[in-house]
Amino acid sequence: MAATRDAFGHAVLELAKDDPRIYVVDCDISKSMKTVDFARKFPKQHINVGIAEQNGAGVCAGLATVGNIPFLSTYAVFASMRACEQVRTSICYPHLNVKLACSHGGLTPANDGATHQAIEDVAIMRALPGMTVVMGADYNAAKALTKAAAYYDGPVYLRYTRDSVPDFYGHDEVFEIGKGKLLRSGGKVTVVSFGEMLHEALAAAEILRGEGVEIDLIDMSTVKPLDIDLLKESLSRTGRCVTVEDHSMIGGLGSAVGEWMAENGCGRLIRIGLNDCFGQSGPYEVLLKHYGMDRESIANAVRKLLLN
């Protein structure tokens, strides 16, 4: 168990060892973003702009124009909303090599309540031309994807969890930005998830297996650009899809998959996510259950699709 934000802190330490172009621009939450060690070990590659995310985004843009690879280190609500227009105009429009490292994606800052739970960020970031949107499902995935993002052309939005999530992938698992992973196949329904919701989807798969139902399970760690080939491979067989995300149903993974399915006349879809509402404080498991995003809700969605 580890929070994927820890993976960010460790990944940038490893990156900076071999590459003086790697910068971390913190916004007064370096303890939370796990970049304290980075600041100590690489002071010449670290900047802390204070509680000023808009400025931080601009400083990253400037660093990128002179050949660096800066990571803006903050929470998802701030990078995607407080600094949204700076990200759009100073980073995406000139397609600068800035990485937005954002913890507290989704409901995982469970006790913090809705102010700190980013449930719109993926929708916002997906809409920005040239932006890549990535979230690893566990520590190893998040770390590998962070490293891959550093050398991926252009702006990348990296979403992490505040809270610990189970380990799933081995430390030598290879991840490629833009490529999902088909973890189970041969099922009658395709379940697509990203980020830590993969673990709920895996638990749902086990529940269903107990009932003799197999599913296709995809870890879509890159939400944009979507791995169309993988979707096609699974959905052409199943024609039924459940998307699972710790995000609003509007504009995130469910929308991305649904847009593709509709345009390609491909089957039926049920979206699991927040149904146009804010979160609240509470234990993460309680929140997932309350908002109909837990393993039972996922299993129910699969059962519903199998009925007709």
Partner: protein, 272 residues
């Protein structure tokens, strides 16, 4: 010095003429700020800045961020006159497929160091450039030009704190203090009469000058280089629409193109 002053005065006159020609041809654009900034741009591109038009991405070059991106006709004219691209491009301002977008785009325009147009963002970018350059031992300088109305934006002051915190002596910001903004005078919309004092409070070295006096501009820019540990703010008092009598100090000429008769008058006055 006299030679330098004469040279930039000549270039400023041409920048003004070209900016007005572009805006007239496009029947769209921002003449007021393009005229108020012309002397400053002439001093930067024809005296101060170390650039290579034949190698626009040369790593050692000084950088310039036009934070008040809407005033790009003046900058486009400066870059073309400096030789970054052909003068004939100036006729394409704001047209479909042109490298000269309504607000400047760095990938399209040779010699342009940053995409701008949304006010308040340039000083942060300039800070990032200045930190990045200095930390790898690159002696290039970073210049940025802001509007006084633009200083309404909170991000300007966030960036001012960063520049001061990191002692960015390789950064020089200039405020084109013409006293007018889109809706009215700055005094009516959001008073900006204490910009200098505010930057001083934020830890900057501040110089107050007449932004149409080339001698003063050059002196201020020369002096800024002698303070490696502190960013410099040059508060340049200017006249919006400078050089075209009917545009001077008139709010309406912020973002309006002249008609044919007005264009003729403007060109006559700018020939002087």
């Amino acid at each position: 010095m006299r030679q330098r002053v004469a040279n930039v005065e000549k270039m400023a006159r041409i920048i003004r003429q070209e900016a007005i020609k572009m805006i007239y041809k496009a029947q769209s654009g921002h003449p007021g700020g393009s005229l108020s900034e012309a002397d400053i741009l002439a001093c930067l591109y024809f005296d101060q800045m170390n650039v290579r038009p034949e190698d626009p991405h040369w790593d050692e070059r000084d950088r310039f961020v036009l934070s008040k991106g809407h005033a790009c006709p003046g900058l486009y004219a400066s870059l073309a006159l400096r030789g970054f691209f052909g003068m004939e491009q100036l006729n394409t301002l704001r047209q479909f497929g042109s490298i000269l977008q309504g607000h400047p785009v760095m990938q399209k325009v040779p010699g342009l160091d940053m995409t701008t147009g949304s006010l308040g963002q340039g000083l942060s970018v300039a800070c990032g450039m200045a930190i990045g350059l200095r930390r790898r031992g690159n002696d290039a300088r970073v210049y940025t030009l802001l509007g006084d109305g633009e200083c309404d934006e909170g991000q300007v002051w966030e960036a001012a704190m960063t520049a001061s915190k990191y002692g960015l002596g390789n950064l020089c910001a200039i405020v084109d203090h013409n006293g007018l903004q889109n809706d009215s005078t700055t005094c009516v919309i959001q008073p900006q009469e204490n910009i200098a004092e505010r930057f001083e409070c934020f830890g900057w070295r501040v110089t107050r000058i007449d932004g149409h006096d080339a001698w003063q501009i050059l002196n201020a820019l020369d002096e800024a280089k002698r303070h490696p540990g502190q960013p410099t703010l040059i508060l340049a008092r200017t006249v919006k629409g400078k050089g075209v009598s009917y545009m001077e100090n008139v709010v309406a000429w912020h973002g309006t193109a002249p008609n044919e008769a007005q264009f003729e008058i403007a060109m006559q006055e700018l020939e002087g």
